[in-house]
């Protein structure tokens, strides 16, 4: 497409790119910026961006507030890590089976796994809330770890299956000829070369669990509160401590942004595995 690039065309593309970058990152930059600005600076019209307006006070306030942000962060970390680990442990073999091993009714199972990804949370939340209440599991991290599997497991299976199906058959064939069982082939041959995709699946699962709000809202009260709940508690207050609101949000957002930037290639490859290998 190189030959007939008019100056106007190129300028148009540049303009479009500028608009794109501004639209995609502008709000997030504003979030981070607002979190380090003083209240007076934020309530001036236009916002006062002079160097003296910057402060870390918002973060300090947010941590010492009633919303128990420190505990929420620990809870979120624990829940996200364990649910991701479980999803990988359960999902990787399942994905391999669906990709490589002969399964009866594989098509139907695949359909169910895929449909599972799309359940509106409310339909399983009501029965799970009732069951968890009867079992006394409400407000525990264990409950969240298990419940989050309902969306993490399908994600992991979907991404890994796509990846496994794209692997060249040679290695596995050779292992079989050598007499290795499917389990050995899986553990010794396939898994080690799947690390990038495993990693991608794990990142997706972690991000989804870290960001999850709805289940946490109805299944936790105090002890097992996660970061998204703490943020919503802030938004429910005054609605006038803007800097603190943004600081609370930034605490959830900043680590994920860092993760996304550092692991961008893994994430994009995970998208590819999950999306294209139908």
């Amino acid at each position: 497409m190189a030959a007939s690039q008019s100056i106007l065309g190129r300028a148009g593309i540049v303009l479009a790119l500028v608009v794109f970058v501004f639209a995609a990152t502008g709000p997030i930059v504003w979030l981070l910026l607002s979190s380090v600005l003083q209240q007076q600076a934020l309530t001036s019209i236009p916002p006062d961006l002079s160097p003296s307006s910057f402060t870390l006070a918002n973060y300090l306030e947010v941590f010492s507030s009633a919303a128990q942000l420190g505990r929420a962060i620990i809870n979120s970390l624990i829940v996200a890590t364990f649910t991701t680990a479980l999803a990988i442990i359960l999902g990787a073999p399942a994905a391999y089976a669906l990709a490589r091993l002969e399964i009866k009714h594989a098509g139907t199972i695949l359909l169910m796994v895929l449909a599972a990804q799309m359940f509106p949370a409310i339909v399983i939340a009501i029965p799970l809330f009732i069951t968890a209440s009867k079992l006394g599991l409400i407000d525990t991290k264990l409950l969240l770890i298990l419940v989050y599997l309902s969306f993490n497991l399908p994600i992991v299976i979907w991404v890994l299956r796509g990846f496994f199906m794209g692997l060249p058959l040679g290695l596995e064939r050779a292992a079989r000829v050598d007499g290795a069982s499917p389990l050995q082939t899986f553990l010794r041959i396939v898994l080690p070369i799947s690390l990038p995709s495993l990693f991608a699946a794990a990142i997706f699962a972690f991000i989804e669990a870290w960001n999850e709000f709805f289940f946490a809202l109805i299944m936790t009260r105090q002890t097992a509160q996660t970061v998204p709940l703490a943020i919503s508690a802030f938004a429910g207050q005054y609605q006038t401590m803007f800097g603190q609101m943004m600081a609370a949000a930034a605490i959830s957002v900043a680590p994920i942004i860092l993760l996304t930037i550092l692991l961008r290639n893994t994430i994009l490859r995970g998208f590819a595995d999950g999306m294209l290998k139908g």
Binding site: A2, A24, I28, P228, I231, S232, A249, L268
Partner: protein, 308 residues
């Protein structure tokens, strides 16, 4: 194509061992999913046929047949929520698909090959919906929000607008936020599909004297058919699930202007504690999602074996 790469070509001995072991690979995951998904769905169907109430961990389920569904049909708040949901979904799908396609076309251009652009695209996707909602609440703030600030400075408005103050306007502002957040995923989908179109097709078209627009219309669009269909279905399913945004930004207000089916089901169940009615509402949403998911799978796997 799925068949050929799936099963490994093996001798008979291997196949029988295969068949024995394969279910073991799959079983743990399936059991977990059955417990977490299949069982609750069945439970929810049963709940919707009762006038369930939960009190101190005790569930009372007096049978009431189809009463909840009859009430659903006559309930004005349900029809209002359905209307809102329809509007929200249709506009969001159109918005996301169009914007996603435009973004993908932009990023597919040789001038946009810097990987940084793709990272920027990922950012709205990655942040928590709750954090996103809180951010836009701040952006939309009528007195100090940056939207009013910018528009005032640019002279496009002459006094502050209460963006979330009017029911219909609030619905549209919520739409805007969700479109912003949902476009990246669809854009990446389109980008991948675009990159799969062989460049030779475009070269041949150039040789034949086709303009850029004709190339788009006769090569790009048809090749994206499946991707567009998939995008529409996926985004529809996701539009039905919007919750965090509404909860934080408007709580369904003002005057129930931003109440969609999902939010209504939550409010009925967890605010009014009417578990049977809430389950009925949830089942309606579930049915819609299920139908859409089936369409999605058919689209992805046109030749897939239907069981066996």
């Amino acid at each position: 194509m799925a068949e050929a790469t799936r099963a490994l070509p093996l001798g008979t001995g291997h196949r029988t061992r295969h068949a024995r072991v394969a279910p073991l690979f799959l079983a743990p995951a399936l059991i977990v999913l059955a417990l977490l998904l299949a069982y609750p769905v069945l439970y929810s169907i049963w709940l919707s046929l009762t006038d369930a109430s939960l009190s101190a961990g005790q569930l009372d389920t007096p049978f009431s047949g189809l009463d909840n569904y009859r009430q659903l049909i006559g309930d004005k708040s349900v029809s209002a929520a359905l209307l809102n949901t329809l509007y929200f979904t249709v506009v969001e799908v159109i918005g996301v698909v169009v914007l996603g396609l435009l973004t993908a076309l932009l990023l597919n251009h040789p001038m946009a090959s810097w990987s940084g652009f793709r990272v920027f695209l990922l950012l709205p996707w990655a942040i928590a919906p709750v954090a996103n909602a809180v951010l836009w609440k701040w952006i939309y703030h009528s007195n100090y929000g940056i939207l009013n600030s910018l528009l005032l400075q640019l002279g496009l408005i002459d006094q502050n607008v209460t963006w979330l103050g009017d029911p219909f306007r609030a619905l549209n502002m919520v739409l805007l936020v969700d479109i912003w957040k949902s476009t990246p995923f669809i854009a990446i989908l389109f980008l991948a599909a675009l990159q799969n179109i062989p460049k030779t097709l475009y070269r041949a078209a150039r040789v034949d004297g086709a303009s850029t627009f004709e190339a788009f219309r006769f090569i790009t669009l048809p090749s994206l058919n499946t991707a567009i269909a998939i995008a529409v279905i996926l985004q529809t399913i996701w539009s039905l699930r919007v919750f965090d945004l509404i909860f934080v930004l408007t709580k369904g207000g003002p005057a129930d202007g931003t109440v969609v089916m999902n939010f209504l089901a939550y409010r009925v169940t967890f605010n009014f504690l009417k578990f049977g009615y809430g389950a009925a509402l949830a089942n309606v949403i579930f049915l819609a999602s299920l139908l859409l998911s089936i369409i999605y799978v058919r689209l992805m796997n046109p030749g897939a074996p239907r069981g066996r």
